[in-house]
Symmetry: C2
Subunit: 325 residues, 2 copies
DNA sequence: TTGTAGGCGTTATCAA
DNA sequence: TTGATAACGCCTACAA
């Protein structure tokens, strides 16, 4: 495969001139410019991007760290990132971690190795301290709140989102309120747990541990929740469900087994997935797509200007009352 | 940032020795090995992966071309690809195209530029001739059938899948059978259209153009379908819906507006999404995840052995009868 | 077991 | 306007 030196020889110019032509720099005579393009044509030349990356020390590639892709939340976030990246001429390198710390470290190491210009962390498992170590190796933007660390982040205010829904339920008279969550670790989950404690505590309700349903990620988990709920002696009268997928699973399975929603069990989902509208589900709308977009923009600005963005932007959530809660 | 030469100086050895140590080659004395690692530690060295890529002419990166990510079909395929890639130590570079030919060409150009070792095409818009031009620039594996081109592919046999469902409906006595599809171009869509013509033709049914509902990609499109269906004078009695998401939208909206399923309208979805099971939907299970896995494996084998895989593997689909059709 | 030196393909500086 | 040449950082014959 022809390289820039072959071109130079063919066109009868220097490699420097070839490079200038290829990159559209001024100060090249029309004549030589033409000769170079002809050589490009003749030798069927294409630039080797690796060499460019090495020489420039930049790649216009951004890494995206996330546990898995086949999930409505993460695929919405990526879509937002991807849309902006496309617009700005950046490429996306995927780092699927399955929430394994080892994988997260691999991604961070790749940042050190300068495989990409920056990294967007959608969700993580390792301690923030681990991430802090890599801060000097390249720009990192988070999609989660990092309390006590001055990372640059765009995040959804899950405390406020949860609190909002809880107060709504309290106002409707509910006292036995439980919730379903994907996993208990992670900043988002902890923000919710804090809101749960605080808001229920403010009205003197003592939540029961068994009112918290862990491992709720996918539609089919909703079935499990209903089954467990039916087996309980003191059932919650309302559930906050941190994913509309799971909430939909709950609502649909409840319907099937004859549990009346919201009379016997009020259900409030999160996300405002199309499914929520379709099922008439009360839900808290979360701006996932915008989260991805903004995270990329933040990183992009950082990369292009070199100015560290001292940003920690909070994206608001909005309760949408429909029929299930 | 320290480089391999700094290490050599620090450790009092040559760069070749450093490289050997770093890459775990034999024939290095324990003493020097130790000295190198100490230098690594001391200088806080990390290898620059770009330089490695350039020197080796390989990247262990695979490109994935797909129209969008936030879609159950594509995110399942990627998940399959990603899982295998992770296992084999490969990374994924995303090329979101929005079905724009221009974007597809950009991805192919990147293959030429040797940004990645190979490319998996999940779905495309450009003519196969365009892809054929780039075949010599790197291994390309397709997730769609390419009739008349000897690309290497793994694909779901959509003709068989569609035909299977159609015959089932015919057996049940349906004659006015329509279908909903994402877009009409693309090999998968054309395979379905062919099955539709052939199977209906075989029993002398002349399908009406308005029985084909285009642009059905997401849950919310199902609502539109029902609305249009209700406005029709000669309504289909059954619909094949090429996405369970859309089928779910149809079933749920039908329920809402009082259309009885399957009595007034039989619905058969595709994918076997968890939603289908939850809603008791009859559906044709499609192995999306396996498709991604196998596509990666095919490419991987090609990359590692250098042997062109003359594979064109057809993945079967399976009708799952539940309650909607 | 070790080192030297050339190569990978571009970009960028500096002098002309 | 142009060209030589030194980076960029690593790998790898080949020679010792």
């Amino acid at each position: 495969m022809a390289n820039i030196r072959d071109l130079a020889k063919e066109a009868g110019v220097s490699v420097a001139t070839v490079s200038r032509v290829l990159n559209g720099y001024p100060y090249v005579s029309e004549e030589k410019r033409k000769a170079v393009w002809e050589a490009v044509e003749k030798l069927n030349y294409t630039k080797n991007i690796q060499a460019v990356h090495l020489a420039k020390g930049k790649t216009r590639i951004v890494g995206v760290m996330l546990p898995y892709i086949h999930h409505p939340y993460f695929s919405a976030v990526i879509e937002g990132i991807s849309k902006e990246a496309l617009r700005c001429g950046y490429q996306l390198l995927l780092f699927q971690t399955n929430y394994e710390v080892k994988r997260e470290l691999e991604a961070l190491e790749r940042l050190r190795m300068k495989q990409m210009d920056g990294l967007i962390v959608c969700s993580h498992e390792a301690d923030w301290e681990v991430f802090a170590v890599y801060r000097e190796d390249g720009p990192i933007v988070l999609c989660e709140r990092a309390v006590g660390h001055d990372f640059f982040t765009v995040y959804i205010d899950h405390y406020q989102a949860f609190a909002q829904a809880l107060r709504y339920l309290l106002d409707k008279g509910h006292r036995r309120i439980g919730y379903c969550i994907g996993r208990t670790t992670g900043p988002n989950s902890q923000a919710r747990a804090a809101a749960y404690r605080d808001v229920l505590g403010s009205v003197g309700v003592i939540p029961q541990p068994q009112w918290i349903f862990d491992g709720c990620l996918f539609l089919e988990d909703g079935k499990r929740v209903i089954e467990r709920w039916m087996d309980m002696k003191e059932r919650p009268s309302a559930l906050l469900v941190t994913s509309d997928q799971v909430a939909a699973g709950i609502v649909l399975h409840a319907q099937r087994v004859g549990v009346h929603i919201p009379e016997e069990l009020a259900v409030i989902g999160f996300d405002n997935d199309p499914l929520a509208e379709m099922l008439g589900m009360t839900t808290v709308a979360l701006p996932h797509f915008a989260l991805g977009e903004k995270a990329f923009r933040l990183l992009h600005h950082w990369l292009e200007t070199g100015n560290v963005p001292r940003t920690q932007e909070e994206l608001p959530a909005r309760l949408i009352v429909r029929m299930t809660g």
